[in-house]
């Protein structure tokens, strides 16, 4: 089958891979780029396990062909922490036990990332509604909701500090 060159910037690093047009983005991330943090739960777009951010918006990488996102900026779970420092979302998921088996966690974190970045003062109900795009079979969502709310508050406090200084 013919192949296409696809250029992706994932977590700030640009690579070009040669792939069949039918190859799914999630498989390119996992197999060609070695970023196995993005998981596959259903392969039919329902569970949200494979969620990544494209230009800041969440997409299902299991129903997206890599050729469709040629040239895109992507973020995956591997891009959240910096070195030994966890992202506030990761830290709050840990602190509130927003995970059990951890399989939905990368997709859930990326979805949560989109939510808190787009709406720093998100409410608990909005978080529930927002993460309803992603299934978690273990947690019953309650502690995930706790974690996202706590992280949102923390991130907002962080930004108020800087805006406070400007004001």
């Amino acid at each position: 089958m013919e192949r296409h060159d696809v250029t992706l910037t994932v977590n700030g690093r640009t690579s070009t891979v040669s792939v069949e047009p039918r190859k799914l983005l999630v498989d390119v991330l996992r197999e060609d780029l070695g970023l196995v943090g993005t998981h596959i739960g259903c392969e039919h777009g329902v569970c949200g396990t494979c969620t990544v951010l494209r230009d800041g918006e969440s997409i299902r990488s299991c129903t997206t062909f890599a050729v469709q996102v040629d040239g895109a900026e992507l973020r995956t779970v591997e891009g959240l922490a910096s070195g030994s420092e966890l992202h506030p979302l990761q830290d709050e998921f840990w602190d509130k036990q927003g995970l059990q088996c951890g399989f939905c966690t990368p997709g859930m974190l990326m979805r949560a990332c989109e939510i808190v970045e787009q709406k720093p003062d998100v409410t608990r109900e909005e978080v529930r509604e927002g993460i309803a795009s992603n299934l978690c079979r273990c947690t019953g969502y309650q502690f995930i909701t706790d974690a996202v709310c706590a992280a949102a508050a923390r991130m907002k406090a962080g930004s108020t500090e800087t805006t406070g200084a400007q004001a």
Binding site: H44, C47, Q100, F103, G140, Y141
Partner: protein, 812 residues
């Protein structure tokens, strides 16, 4: 009726009152890697030279295979092998199952002459990528001669039904009636007999990660290595070796973390066998990882599928005397785990109520559906649902308050032997109920309900009180038969603790890896408790089956109790050696020394002290400082056997003790039913659980919330629907509805602790959490909401269709 000669119960333990780590909600030690996407699941792993397998599945529920042409598929790009069922039967023996008459219903990794359900495997392709393997599947030409299918379990047992296994001559895989206590007398003397027919349809574990294995067969040595997220039964690996026709000591199963199991990965031997068979055939490592359709249509976790006819013998004052249960269970096409589901139910069949007799008739029907496996609760959640439905119905028929009726029947003296012979070790059901009434604001909601009803709104409160048994014994796998094939009685769990030269502690575990429960955190907390260190400093390792110690793995909420026992035993041996070493170094009498704050010191003389690190470094590097007979190193293991089981009586009127640690819970959901749409929504939900002493309260809370979410799925949404012809209508998450964050309400959680008298710290199991309770509680709530309209729902899940049908039938 005979009575069993009961060996003495284990000695009653006194529990340490002041604990440092046990009982603390610490951050789980497992989590950091998962938060970074570095969980190392089966799909994340590659082995040099690895190929990929995909399985072709039957589109027919029941058909004879009259021909398979694989020529084109074999010649397709990247294909290394195509293995049909016939070839697989030459390569491998049948899969292990726990049913009667194994010779007459052979179960194989691929079907040979006939397929028996939609999704059964008929051929496997091994290729250079999963894409190419699936391309080749489309080129396999299978000729089927369709046969009539049977889907309904009761119809399957009727005369003239199509036979699922011709050699069995019947679709009844098993039938037996057990009587415990004086059933006849209890029913003869009863004032009222409450009867009902109840139907529970099948749902399943549905972990987000499917089951998979990477197998690597070495033709040079005849050894097979399998990396897998399935197969907890380290001690039963010989069964896989047997299927693969290799010596058990040549099989190394290496456990990997699993993205959830909920029972679904307990008996999943097929992926290991398929990958192993393919690897041996092509001489390269092969990965077989189910996709979602594989997992939904051909898996090992379709749960209970039961019809109940029940009679409850009651006195007018509300005393429940006895229960007579007649159940037909749909096992699907193969008897994978057979009657185990009912063994679970019999461990707590009378719930928290002091009944004196039980009749239990079970008939196992074979149908053209996926075989049944384990799903969180494993038959007990169904029993809880049935019993609480009956108690609720009894309260209505006798016009008694449902809370009062329960209270009147509570067991209050422990240990208590129920009619089946199982023991309830401890409990305080009144205290749990009181806490739940308060936490749920029960009275408040009764007022709200009354007011709402005046406005024509249907609000219901579903209070249930139910059991959560833990730590099974192997006897429940065979006490069904007078002459069991393998009357095994061992269910051990092992731990090795090693203190290195710097005093750092590593714990090695021998059954399956992390499944979303918290074995590492729990072991780390228990080790920290024993050695006064920080749990986050304890290192945890999983050992493959080669060089493994006996272990059984999780299942039936046994991990915490069993690992706690093993940690305690290994600790005792290490501390004994450390004490001897410290005493020698300090030239003191060991009897004068005590363990204080992470080291040994002479009683009352803290400066005469050796820390664990001091002792460890000496034992590792300074042999000449010790007596000749003292070996270097500081490491020991404990194989911990089940703390309390007894044998059943020969005539099975008493099944002995087989699930002795009895947790309890009270769930109180408040729901509102929309009469027009038949939808059910939650207004509140409170749950109080008693699982003995808590090791990590938050991780138990996680089980409760997550289990309740699954129970909500069971009660309202989830069902494997087969149409009348046997076609599976729900083989994706589009039609099998797993609850999302919008369907699961916020839970109020309460804990109560009645320590077990027989385990370390008084721990009981609690892994099945809310799923044991939620289906019953929600059904009772829905019935409570609709009682004034004369509507009562007796079938789960309560889909809008079913609910509307019930409302319509009552004229609404």
């Amino acid at each position: 009726m005979t009575t069993v000669d009961r060996p003495d119960a284990p000695p009653v333990r006194t529990h340490k009152p002041d604990r440092t780590w046990v009982g603390k909600s610490i951050r789980r030690v497992e989590d950091p890697k998962f938060l970074r996407g570095r969980g190392g699941y089966i799909g994340d792993m590659t082995v040099t030279g690895m190929l990929y397998a995909a399985v072709l599945r039957s589109p027919h529920p029941h058909a004879r295979i009259t021909g398979i042409d694989t020529t084109e598929a074999s010649a397709a790009p990247g294909v290394h092998a195509v293995i049909t069922g016939a070839r697989a039967a030459e390569l491998c023996d049948p899969l292990p199952d726990f049913g009667p008459n194994p010779a007459a219903h052979t179960w194989r990794c691929l079907a040979v002459d006939k397929v028996r359900y939609v999704g059964e495997g008929v051929a496997v392709v091994v290729a250079e990528s999963r894409y190419l393997a699936e391309d080749a599947l489309a080129l396999i030409d299978v000729e089927y001669e369709p046969l009539p299918a049977v889907v309904d379990p009761e119809r399957a047992l009727a005369d003239g039904a199509p036979l699922v296994h011709d050699d069995l001559g019947s679709n009844c895989a098993y039938e037996r009636t057990f009587d415990f206590g004086d059933v006849e007398r209890d029913f003869a003397e009863a004032d009222v007999i409450v009867t009902d027919r109840l139907r529970w349809h099948r749902s399943g574990g549905q972990p987000l990660e499917t089951v998979g294995a990477i197998a690597d067969f070495d033709h040079a040595t005849g050894a097979l290595t399998v990396h897998t997220n399935s197969l907890s039964f380290t001690s039963y690996l010989f069964m896989v070796a047997g299927t693969m026709k290799i010596p058990a000591n040549k099989l190394d199963v290496r456990p990997l973390p699993a993205g959830g199991s909920f029972g679904s990965k307990l008996f999943a031997t097929k992926p290991a066998v398929i990958a192993g068979m393919c690897s041996r055939e092509v001489g390269r490592p092969v990965q077989y990882l189910e996709d979602r359709v594989d997992n939904m249509s051909n898996c090992d976790h379709h749960g209970s599928d039961r019809v109940y006819e029940v009679r409850l013998a009651m006195m007018r004052d509300g005393t429940i005397r006895g229960i007579d249960i007649d159940t037909v269970e749909d096992y699907g096409a193969y008897i994978q785990f057979g009657v185990g589901h009912h063994g679970n139910a019999l461990a707590q069949v009378v719930g928290p109520y002091a009944m004196t007799s039980v009749r239990y008739r079970v008939r196992a029907a074979l149908t053209n559906k996926n075989q049944q496996g384990a799903y969180r609760g494993f038959g007990s959640e169904v029993n809880n649902w049935m019993l609480e439905q009956m108690v609720d119905k009894a309260a209505r028929e006798l016009a008694l308050d449902p809370v009062e009726l329960r209270r009147r029947n509570f067991i209050r003296e422990f240990p208590h032997f129920i009619p089946t012979g199982n023991v309830y070790d401890s409990g305080d059901y009144d205290a749990v109920l009181d806490k739940a009434l308060e936490l749920s604001e029960y009275r408040h909601w009764r007022d709200v309900q009354a007011k709402a009803r005046e406005e024509g709104r249907c609000i219901g409160i579903g209070l249930i009180t139910a059991q959560e048994r833990s730590v099974f014994s192997a006897t429940e796998f065979w006490f069904w038969f007078d002459e069991p094939g393998a009357p095994v009685t061992s269910m051990p769990e092992s731990v090795t603790l090693k203190v290195d030269a710097t005093g750092g502690i590593t714990a090695t575990l021998y059954s399956c890896a992390f499944w979303g429960n918290s074995p590492e955190t729990m072991v780390a907390q228990l080790v920290a408790e024993e050695f006064d260190c920080d749990p986050h400093d304890v290192s945890i390792v999983y050992q493959g089956s080669k060089n493994g110690l006996p272990a059984t793995g999780p299942g039936g909420s046994r991990t915490t109790v069993m690992l706690a026992g093993a940690v305690e035993g290994a600790t005792a041996k290490i501390k004994a050696k450390a004490l001897r070493a410290a005493a020698h170094l300090l030239e003191a009498n060991p009897d004068d020394m005590e363990w204080v704050d992470g080291g040994y010191q002479v009683r009352g003389v803290p400066e005469q002290r050796k820390s664990l690190a001091d002792i460890a470094v000496m034992l590792h590097l300074f042999k000449h400082s010790f007596p000749e007979d003292m070996e270097s190193g500081l490491e020991d293991s404990k194989v911990f056997d089940h703390p309390y089981t007894t044998m059943p009586s020969a005539d099975r009127t008493d099944l002995g003790v087989f699930y002795p640690f009895m947790g309890h819970a009270c769930h109180v959901p408040v729901v509102e039913v929309d009469l027009e749409t038949g939808s059910v929504s939650f207004l509140a939900y409170a749950a109080v659980h008693d699982c003995g002493t808590l090791v990590n309260p938050r991780s138990l809370a996680g089980h409760i919330v997550g289990g309740t979410a699954q129970g909500i799925g069971t009660a309202l949404y989830e069902e494997f629907v087969y149409d009348d012809d046997g076609q599976l209508l729900t083989s994706s998450f589009l039609d099998y509805l797993v609850p999302s964050a919008m369907e699961v309400p916020e839970l109020r959680i309460g804990h109560h602790e009645t320590p077990s008298p027989y385990t370390l710290h008084g721990i009981k199991g609690g892994g099945e959490g809310g799923r044991m309770m939620a289906p019953a509680a929600i059904n009772v709530a829905v019935n409570d909401a609709l009682a004034h309209l004369g509507v009562r729902v007796t079938e789960l899940p309560i889909t809008p269709d079913r609910l509307r049908a019930a409302i319509r039938a009552a004229g609404g």
